[in-house]
């Protein structure tokens, strides 16, 4: 019960923090300097990149939690994996929607079949496959889905490295680490947005895992009642 109270309080605190951060984000993004060649459209990066960062984080959490569930048989880890997988799909969608919005202005097309985009789409599809398996796999699908999540996690390094291995038109992964030196005016708002996304992600994770935990609790009570 205490644990539940704590998680409720944590969720409230994180929600308030996230709300404040997202309310302030447009002001910070608006006062950040314009990028010389792309102009206004570049500002979509403040949401696009954090979206993908959180998505990748969620895929890793889902993969590691799934490995723990698969090899140690911990239902709590499975609940964490499910929550992370659902959020990976949500944040991946943010990236997949904001990306083409930028691309139509910068590249002149909505979509380019270059490796980085393709692999991101593959990752998004993999996480959707995970959710489909959980939904339609029937009893025991949690273990099977855990196997899929581990495979999805193994895919992530290939996604991240692909832009460096192949020469592509996607802005390279070195842009963000160099931002502090090359454009200090952009770095502050970018970090602010990235932290805002992380806070939002943590709040949603807390809410979603709590829902799953309570669902499992209700199921236990239901079974106990039937046995009487």
């Amino acid at each position: 019960m205490i644990c539940m109270m704590q998680s409720q309080r944590m969720f409230a605190a994180l929600s308030v923090a996230g709300l404040v951060m997202f309310a302030a984000a447009p002001l910070l993004i608006a006062q950040a300097p314009y990028e010389s060649t792309m102009g206004l459209i570049q500002k979509i990066f403040y949401f696009h990149v954090p979206g993908w960062i959180v998505m990748f984080l969620a895929v890793f959490i889902a993969g590691i939690a799934s490995a723990i569930h698969l090899f140690r048989n911990r239902p709590a880890a499975d609940r964490l994996a499910l929550a992370a997988a659902e959020l990976a799909v949500v944040f991946g969608l943010i990236g997949l929607v904001t990306g083409p919005l930028w691309a139509i202005k910068a590249w002149g097309v909505w979509w380019q079949w270059e490796p980085r985009l393709t692999m991101s789409l593959i990752l998004e599809l993999t996480m959707c496959a995970y959710l489909l398996l959980r939904r339609y796999g029937g009893p025991g699908s949690d273990k099977l889905a855990a196997g899929v999540a581990i495979f999805a996690m193994a895919n992530v390094p290939f996604v991240y490295l692909s832009v460096n291995i192949w020469r592509t038109i996607h802005p390279a992964t070195s842009v963000v680490p160099q931002l502090a030196g090359s454009a200090p005016g952009m770095f502050g708002p970018f970090v602010w947005c990235a932290v805002a996304f992380l806070v939002l992600f943590t709040a949603m994770m807390a809410a979603r895992t709590r829902l799953e935990a309570q669902r499992a609790h209700v199921e236990r009570l239901h079974l106990a009642l039937e046995e009487r």
Binding site: L70, F71, P115, T118, M119, I122, L123, L125, T126, C128, A129, L132, L133, Y136, G137, G138, G140, S141, K143, L144, A146, G147, V148, I150, F151, A152, A154, N155, F158, I165
Partner: protein, 227 residues
């Protein structure tokens, strides 16, 4: 370790014996692969000439589709008379059972690919024979990655209701990186001026995929198959 390979060998031999007696999977898979190539010939032939660069894609899509068809029965036939339970209860390493099944799938896919590759070379005027060893190496590397993931997923899904639908849904997103590498590597060889360096790079990429996927599949088979 010798026991591991002996068990794998026995499982593979059992599967191949069933196959040699029934020809069920080879005939159906091969027929499906040939039908695939025929369907593509309508889409990718303009004014009697095949569209440039289509051959590599056709070859690999035919391989992927027919491979999926071959994966289903691999574990499905173990459902009869509860043979799967007997197999899993055997006092041997589970990963050895997986490895035997995996080898069976690789051999089956190789047999189908020999025919499909010849067919694509003839029907689409693709110079596959010019770099036959490189094409064979790419196909084998692709086979291993595809079969490792596919055998694991087919095993996982054997007890679920909608397995025939779920197998391609799970299999394609995960194996797509390997298929991309296969298609790109093969088309590098089929260009007017073959680019061997590029083919080598994609082969190396495939090798990385294979190493990661096969290790993961061997590692996850045991806990996934625990009831």
């Amino acid at each position: 370790m010798p026991n591991f390979f002996r068990v794998a060998w026995l499982v593979m031999r059992k599967d191949l014996t069933i196959e040699a007696r029934s020809w069920e999977m080879v005939s159906t898979t091969l027929f499906f692969a040939v039908s695939c190539v025929l369907v593509f010939s309508f889409a990718f032939v303009r004014a009697g000439q095949p569209v440039e660069g289509a051959a590599a894609g056709i070859l690999w899509i035919a391989v992927a589709f027919s491979g999926t068809l071959a994966l289903g029965p691999t574990f499905d036939r173990e459902r009869h008379h509860d043979a799967l339970r007997g197999l899993l209860l055997a006092p041997v390493e589970r990963s050895a059972i997986f490895f035997g099944k995996f080898l069976g799938v690789v051999l089956l896919m190789t047999a189908v690919e020999v025919v499909v590759a010849v067919l694509v070379a003839l029907l689409f005027q693709a110079p596959l024979a010019a770099h036959a060893w490189w094409v064979a190496a790419l196909l084998m590397l692709g086979n291993v990655g595809f079969a490792a993931v596919g055998t694991l997923f087919a095993a996982m899904l054997v007890r679920t209701r909608s397995r025939s639908v779920l197998l391609p849904i799970l299999l394609y997103p995960i194996t797509l990186p390997a298929l991309i590498a296969g298609v790109m590597g093969t088309s590098a060889l089929l260009q007017a001026e073959p680019n061997l360096d590029l083919a080598r790079l994609w082969a190396a990429m495939l090798l990385c995929f294979d190493a990661v996927f096969t290790t993961l599949a061997l590692w996850t088979f045991e806990p996934v198959m625990t009831e």
